[in-house]
């Protein structure tokens, strides 16, 4: 247990400093602090601030990963300073020195403090971040399914720390992208049975070129989030609801692209890349490639395709007719499609709501009154 006190150790922090009033460029500043290894990087910074240099700038408040103030990059990875153990951070440091920098994708104000209003909050405001239910309210509470509220608690649990925004790879090349935090916030309303304008929200987020179809599916936000909000997963749910359930066809080829791949795999069992592009642009049929929008796109891609053909990179036969799995297997795949797609409502397992099977197992250890020996005592700190 945690009571196994590990003695304090020395840790060296390399902090990215920037003083906007000095006119100097950002620089690195090192401090060596002494704390128990499982204390947080934030506690390390606060010790440096208290003992050596009070001018170190970092937003912080709760120390317990709930207020969302201390989003930074530690050894290049976004996260909360209070939520990262010193020993863990040191293990991932390149040269044994823990590097702490301000978050990315947002302008730096001072040291590790970034301008969240200019990016993060602006994007949150973009998604109409309040419940839309203007009609008369019930006398008591709205009656809604139990699971629905557990479900949106996942996105409600977002602490607006900006870690996901910091390293969003779509935003890096396309700063206008609404981004992971704001789109997760959008799901909080789309998934809320009390909201009355879900379809309008979905149309808005699908049609915006910087909306749900601008996500590159890179998992950066999933990894960055300290609260298990799974922003990219929420974006994919928005796509499913917009595309599969609400049949919203967007101007960004998002829904067409998804329908195309889904249909091609039904028809071939494998991805038929040569059909993918034209159909995504022109419409999801073999004729799609003759659609003017597809024609234009094909024309611009023609040099690439021709070059690939000339280099025999692409087998002309496969380019024309695609590759297929054996007929009997293709039939099996089609049957899977028919069965799953004919369900009256689309079924979706949400592990956040259901938990994992091992979660329901009985506890392995429990303290029996009068028998203190059964309290598990581990000799090693099991912090992680």
């Amino acid at each position: 247990m945690a009571e196994t006190h590990r003695p304090p150790e020395q840790f060296t922090l390399r902090l990215r400093r920037y003083d906007p009033e000095s006119g100097d460029a950002p620089y690195w500043d090192e401090h060596t602090i002494e704390l128990e290894p499982h204390r947080s990087v934030l506690e390390g910074i606060l010790q440096a601030k208290a003992k050596f240099d009070g001018s170190i700038g970092i937003r912080c408040s709760c120390r317990a990963a709930i207020c969302g103030s201390c989003g930074v990059r530690i050894n290049g990875e976004p996260g909360l300073a209070c939520h990262t153990h010193l020993d863990h951070a040191r293990a991932y440091a390149k040269d044994g020195v823990i590097e702490v920098e301000p978050m990315g994708n947002m302008p730096v104000i001072k040291d590790m403090i970034v301008d969240m209003d200019a990016v993060h909050w602006k994007k949150v405001k973009r998604v109409t971040p309040w419940l839309l239910n203007e009609g008369p309210q019930p006398e008591r509470e709205h009656i809604v399914p139990r699971e629905s509220m557990v479900d949106i608690t996942q996105t409600m649990a977002c602490i607006q720390c900006g870690a996901c925004v910091s390293d969003c790879l779509a935003m890096e090349v396309d700063p206008g992208f609404i981004g992971p935090a704001a789109l997760a916030k959008a799901y909080r309303f789309v998934g809320d049975p009390r909201d009355e304008e879900q379809r309008e929200r979905l149309i808005d987020l699908s049609q915006d070129p910087l909306g749900i179809y601008d996500c590159t599916h890179c998992f950066k936000c999933v990894q960055a989030c300290p609260k298990d909000v799974n922003p990219m997963g929420q974006i994919m749910r928005l796509r499913r609801i917009a595309g599969s359930d609400q049949k919203i066809v967007d101007q960004n080829n998002g829904h067409r692209h998804e329908e195309t791949i889904t249909t091609l795999i039904k028809g071939y069992g494998l991805l038929h890349e040569a059909e993918m592009l034209p159909r995504s642009y022109g419409g999801n049929s073999w004729f799609g490639k003759f659609h003017p929008a597809a024609g234009k796109e094909l024309l611009s891609s023609l040099p690439v395709v021709l070059r690939a053909l000339v280099k025999r990179k692409v087998n002309p036969k496969i380019a024309m007719f695609g590759h297929k799995i054996p007929r009997q297997d293709l039939n099996a795949v089609k049957k899977i499609y028919e069965k799953v797609e004919s369900r009256p409502t689309r079924y979706e397992l949400n592990l956040y709501v259901t938990g994992y099977d091992e979660d329901v197992e009985e506890p392995v250890a429990s303290v029996v009154a009068g028998n203190a020996q059964s309290v598990p005592q581990s000799t090693e700190g099991s912090t992680n």
């Binding site: 991932y92 790879l169 779509a170 090349v173 070129p209 179809y213 601008d214 996500c215 590159t216 599916h217 890179c218 998992f219 950066k220 999933v222 990894q223 994919m236 796509r239 499913r240 595309g243 599969s244 960004n252 080829n253 692209h257 998804e258 329908e259 791949i261 889904t262 795999i265 069992g269 494998l270 991805l271 890349e273 040569a274 592009l277 995504s280 642009y281 690439v304 070059r307 690939a308 280099k311 025999r312 990179k313 087998n315 496969i318 695609g322 099996a332 795949v333 049957k335 899977i336 499609y337 799953v340 797609e341 689309r346 079924y347 979706e348 397992l349 592990l351 259901t354 994992y356 099977d357």
Partner: protein
Amino acid sequence: MKVAYWPGCVSRGFTPELHGSMAKVAPLLDIELVELDRANCCGCGVIAEHNQELADTLNARTFALAQQVQGAELMMNICSTCQGAQSECQERLDANAQYRAHVNETLAGEGLSYEKGLTNKNFLWLLVEEIGLDKLRSMVKRPLTNLKVGPFYGCYIVRPRNRLGIDSENQRDQYLERLIDALGGTVIEYAGMRKCCGFPIITMNKEASLKQAGMHLGDALDADADCLVTPCPLCHLNLDMQQPLAEKVVGRELQMPVLHLPQLVGLALGLEPKELGMSRHVVKPTSVIDWSSAVVGAAA
């Protein structure tokens, strides 16, 4: 070792040199490939955007087919995207027995059933964890001395860490560097090595997509890489096939060859660039071919 081999779609479609080079390399590493030629596309994350149960069922079918291969130690793939998309489905299937039963009911028509706990490893993981880098080092015929190789992982094989079993014990997000080193090459680190190639949005936001590809290629070029190596054929499409267009978007000449993982391994095991299908790349891997002839020349 015998593996149930899932080559994926793209390795047999737009990047046939990947499938071909894997077939050439496998016997040299004593890997017996039992190709899952009845299996279907993993859905590359896109089917899951359409219908999660459909994606899970299609992949459960592949897993069930893999589990039927007699004597196979595990399932192996050669595509980061397949790895990521399949791991995501497997996470749900393994987490919940009720859901697994529900999915298996759909597969029952074909007499298939997925049992919890399949091991599915990308070729990269298999090289490091099953064959071992020390053994691999001893098998190298032609060390990649002086060849400067930049790793490009592909998002699906490095994130999220929990799902992919990456932690301080299993540093799967460092394997490419270790592998290049074991093959005798020089590792070139650059900003984009674990970033997104841009492929998933090529049809939605072409400009941003190509900007991503162009940026990473440019970073690798600035870091003085001779070539990149990737375990992901979809990344290969954006980095190699789309490179001429990416050059236009970022406004600079790139000419950065991008190798598939088995091609790089094959090179070190003594195979020639041509038999590894390198001539099929859009960006001619001149630097690699030159390196190869120089090594052969020096040996002669």
